[in-house]
Amino acid sequence: MIPDQPIAQAIALILAQAVVLLCVSPAIVGLINKVKARLQCRQGAGILQPYADLKKLFRKQPVLSTTTTWIFTATPYIVFASTVTAGLLIPVFASQMPLNFAGNIIAFVYLLALGRFFLILAGLDSGSSFGGMGSSREAIVASLTEPAMIMAIFAIALTAGSTNLSTIVHRTALLEGIATDPSAHLMALSAVFIVVLAETGRVPVDNPATHLELTMIHEAMVLEYSGRYLALLEWASAIKLLVFLTLIANVFAPWGIATSFTPMALSVGLAVYLIKVAGLALLIGTIECMFAKLRLFRVTDLLGVAFILALLGLLFFYMLRG
């Protein structure tokens, strides 16, 4: 569970992972936008555009609503902190993360829920109908994704004999205890993929590019934010996207990740990781171009499918293993 390593190395690894998450995440958003633009026969902004946006937002004077309370100004920090902390529980380029002991998949899900709780409060705090609408919709989408998410990861956890993400990834990467039949994995993978689309607010559940009151969810909650507060929230949502892509990439296909701490293994691990998440970003960009956003009350069916898939994954696991 806890790799034997000197404390300095552990802290260095944690910091390195935080730096990777912080630095790579805007590029992933930029990449998805670029893919969408190209598929729509547009030139589109450069992949590095989100960095420029963040820089600009940080340097703008923030405008706060007179109705808001300290909850509104504290929320960006809480969302940022909970997202980054959740990101540190999952291995990115090295499979043995020092923070593995701090929490398992349940802690991961509930940390993200902490950020969501405050974001919902902030949406209500501004007093306008848009914020409340976004909060209310976010709540229902979250209610339907979390059970599916927990069931899907549990099916994987059983194969690896652990619910701690780092242990799952490490064992899968070393091909320990892998089931001979991958059907349980495939079921869980498709469930998690649907969950990720919903959790990160992508088409067909939410459209990150819209500001139309009838359709927006995440954007409605953060509508009243500006300046540095908006910058933190945008950054946090990019990190959340990257963390979920990492979850898919490393839990279901961890091969290539550094299983030891040699410089060679670490650099290969980082390179493979970047290729994997870039590939997933391409996939998401393509999906966003191919599908229309679902009506809010049709999302239920989609997430119901995710839950059933996860349940089938669990059933297959027990059936095939006896």
């Binding site: 909970s82 927990i150 701690n164």
Partner: protein
């Protein structure tokens, strides 16, 4: 130890009698009653700590003049744990009450309220300490009666009287089942002492044991408020004064959990088939999910909290049910884990539910309404209450790093451990219960985002909310203390878990304290260290560090720009509170998605302008959710009972001669029977 016991009982007794003898100055009565209660609670806390760490259980017994009845008390680990929980909440409630009852000076008798309050604490304490079936029943019945009188404190209101009557009937139906439980146990042992229940002369046959299991589950389940026996709870708990609601929701319903553990693990020595545990698990899962679902639709803040008690009792039963299943398969270490999870959630729920009821009481004190739709913007006006309520809300929503998260996490782990059970059905059923718990958790998060967001944030919706003021300092201190306990139980589970492990080990006989703690106690690792681990101190530290990173980033790149304040954009109009999302609007999508459960009925009436039907003058919108349990479960029972009562009126002729004749006939029959 005996000294502490007498100190506690004497303080409560003083609090019971002294206010009634005091001069009619409400302030003095208030201080005397709640001061004695606070002393009694301190004694209870001391007694609980001594009982938890003491080597042997304390026993005392006083024979009585009545046959079969002995006033026997016994303080073992299980009793001590519940005694500690009750006394802790009792202490906070006593401090809170000093400020809270000032609103009633001159309206109702403070002496009576304070006296009953002490009686309530005393009877609850005795329920956990009783070591004799008869004595237990007397304490239980007194607890129910005293709490009934407390519920109808504001008896001039019709709905309070109705709530009280409903509670009185339901609690007595429950008591009837409990009496049957004890009578069946008495059959086997020939004595009412708990010791005889533990070691009966001849073992009970399986049929009787199963009957006892069902009777106890129904009887105590009524008090605990499990679905479908929960209907009284959302009526009775909100009707009582808020510090009483906190005690009823926080700890009184836990006495039923205590009694269930006592019967199943102590009297039966843990000898039961797997399906007992499964029944408890199903009852827990259904209560948790339906409890939170009905809570979401509730806009009376105190009723909402009462429904959450149903939910949390469900979560506690999920842990205990999983423990029972593991125990019946001989997986004792996992059984201890399940019971630890249930007990940890018991104390956590007591703390945050009392805190939230105190918060709701403060809002009631400040605004004179319980309807959330009339609150709004209260965080600016009541910053302390708001901050404490937020901590309670985060805890009950089980968000890290608070106490609710730790115990819910433990429940999850014990459900996930199901892969070690040999039976395939159980292997699948426990993860499904975990998925239901996940849904419950996220719905609870939604519900408290609604409760806090609608009550405390944005603009005040009424003048009540606009002119609200912060509550007296005693009330704030009580809330502050409980908030601190919430955080402490969340951030330092390594201190609490070994103690709770002693309680669970005393029932099951195998201790897992050393297996629960990894890394010198900095991480919790339920039984199998490879399978899962959690360290809330580390999570708290990383959260603080990353929040500091966020602050640092802001400071480096542009944090120097001053903030500008402006009105929220409301499409060119002036923002009014009518533009805000209401509580009903917030949960509308959930109502629609889960409409099979709610079966909502919506009524929309529109009055149009005479000139044109394109312009509405007035709109009236009503929605109700179907009271399923009331319609299909309670109403038939009540109809049957009152029908029966009508038939029985034939014998009740009202003539004195007839009654004398009844007595004569009865006497003759009895004499003949005696011959």
């Amino acid at each position: 130890m005996a000294i502490l016991f007498f100190l506690m009982v004497a303080s409560y007794a003083a609090g019971l009698l002294l206010p009634l003898c005091c001069p009619a100055r409400p302030k003095i009565q208030n201080l005397v009653a709640h001061g004695s209660a606070a002393f009694g609670s301190l004694g209870g806390i001391g007694l609980g700590i001594v009982g938890l760490f003491g080597p042997d259980p304390l026993t005392m017994s006083v024979p009585s003049a009545l046959p079969l009845l002995t006033f026997a008390v016994r303080l073992d680990a299980l009793s001590s744990f519940f005694l500690l929980t009750i006394s802790l909440i009792g202490l906070a409630a006593s401090i809170y009450a000093v400020g809270y009852v000032t609103a009633w000076y001159g309206h109702i008798s403070i002496a009576l309220l304070g006296s009953l309050y002490n009686g309530f604490l005393l009877t609850m304490t005795l329920v956990t300490l009783a070591d004799d079936g008869f004595f237990f029943l007397i304490a239980w019945e007194l607890m129910s009666l005293v709490s009934y009188f407390l519920v109808v404190t504001e008896h001039e209101k019709a709905d309070v009287r109705h709530a009280g009557l409903f509670y009185l009937i339901m609690t007595h139906v429950g008591t009837a089942f409990i009496i049957l439980t004890f009578l069946l146990l008495f059959e086997g042992s020939g004595s009412f002492s708990f010791d005889a229940f533990r070691h009966p002369e001849q073992p009970l046959p399986d049929g009787i044991r199963t009957t006892v299991f069902v009777l106890a589950l129904v009887g105590f389940g009524t008090k605990a408020g499990v679905v479908p026996l929960h209907v009284w709870l959302p009526y009775a708990h909100p009707a009582a004064p808020s510090h009483i609601s906190a005690l009823m929701s926080g700890v009184m319903i836990k006495t039923a959990i205590y009694a269930l553990l006592r019967v199943y693990f102590d009297f039966f020595g843990g000898q039961f088939p797997w399906w007992w545990g499964f029944v408890v698990l199903v009852v827990g899962a259904v209560s948790a999910l339906l409890g939170v679902m009905y809570a979401l639709m509730e806009h009376d803040l105190k009723s909402l909290l009462a429904y959450h008690s149903v939910e949390n009792i469900g979560i506690i039963l999920l842990g205990i049910g999983a423990g029972m299943i593991f125990h019946s398969y001989g997986l004792d270490e996992l059984a201890v884990l399940g019971v630890i999870a249930g007990l940890y959630h018991t104390i956590n729920h007591a703390v945050f539910k009392a805190l939230l009821f105190f918060g709701a009481g403060s809002l009631l004190y400040a605004t004179h309404t319980r309807n959330m739709e009339e609150y709004g913007g209260l965080l600016r006006r009541m910053p302390w209450t708001g901050a404490c309520f937020l901590i309670g809300a985060v805890s009950i929503a089980a968000l890290p790093p608070t106490n609710g998260f730790v115990s819910e996490w433990l429940v999850f782990q014990s459900l996930f451990m199901s892969y070690q059970i040999p039976s395939l059905a159980m292997k699948l059923m426990l993860p499904i219960a975990a998925a239901m718990l996940a849904l419950t958790g996220v719905l609870a998060m939604t519900c408290f985002a609604k409760a806090f967001g609608i009550s405390f944030l944005a603009l005040p919706r009424t003048s009540h909310a606009k002119h609200a003021q912060e509550v007296p300092w005693t009330m704030r201190i009580a809330m502050g203390v409980l908030s601190a306990v919430c955080l402490a139980l969340g951030l330092a589970p390594m201190l609490a878990v070994p103690i709770i492990d002693r309680v669970a080990a005393s029932m099951i006989g195998s201790s897992i304290a050393d297996k629960m703690l990894a890394l010198d106690g900095w991480a919790l690792a339920p039984v199998n260290v490879e399978f899962s681990s959690l360290s809330t101190p580390a999570l708290g530290l990383v959260l603080a560090a990353t929040a500091a990173l966020g602050l640092g980033l802001v400071a480096c790149c542009g944090g120097t720009f001053p903030r500008r304040y402006s009105k929220t954009w409301a499409c060119g109009l002036n923002l009014t509170s009518r533009m805000e999302y209401s509580a009903a609007g917030f949960v509308q999508p959930i109502k629609r998605v889960f409409s099979t459960i709610y079966q909502p009925t919506v009524k929309l009436e529109t009055e149009f302008l005479e000139e044109s039907r394109y312009f509405a003058k007035r709109r009236r919108f009503e929605f109700h959710i179907a009271p399923v349990f009331q319609t299909y479960f309670y109403d038939p029972v009540i109809a049957f009972m009152s029908g029966l009562a009508d038939r029985m009126r034939i014998v009740q002729g009202g003539s004195l001669h007839l009654y004398l004749a009844y007595m004569f006939v009865t006497l003759v029959v009895l004499l003949l029977a005696a011959l």
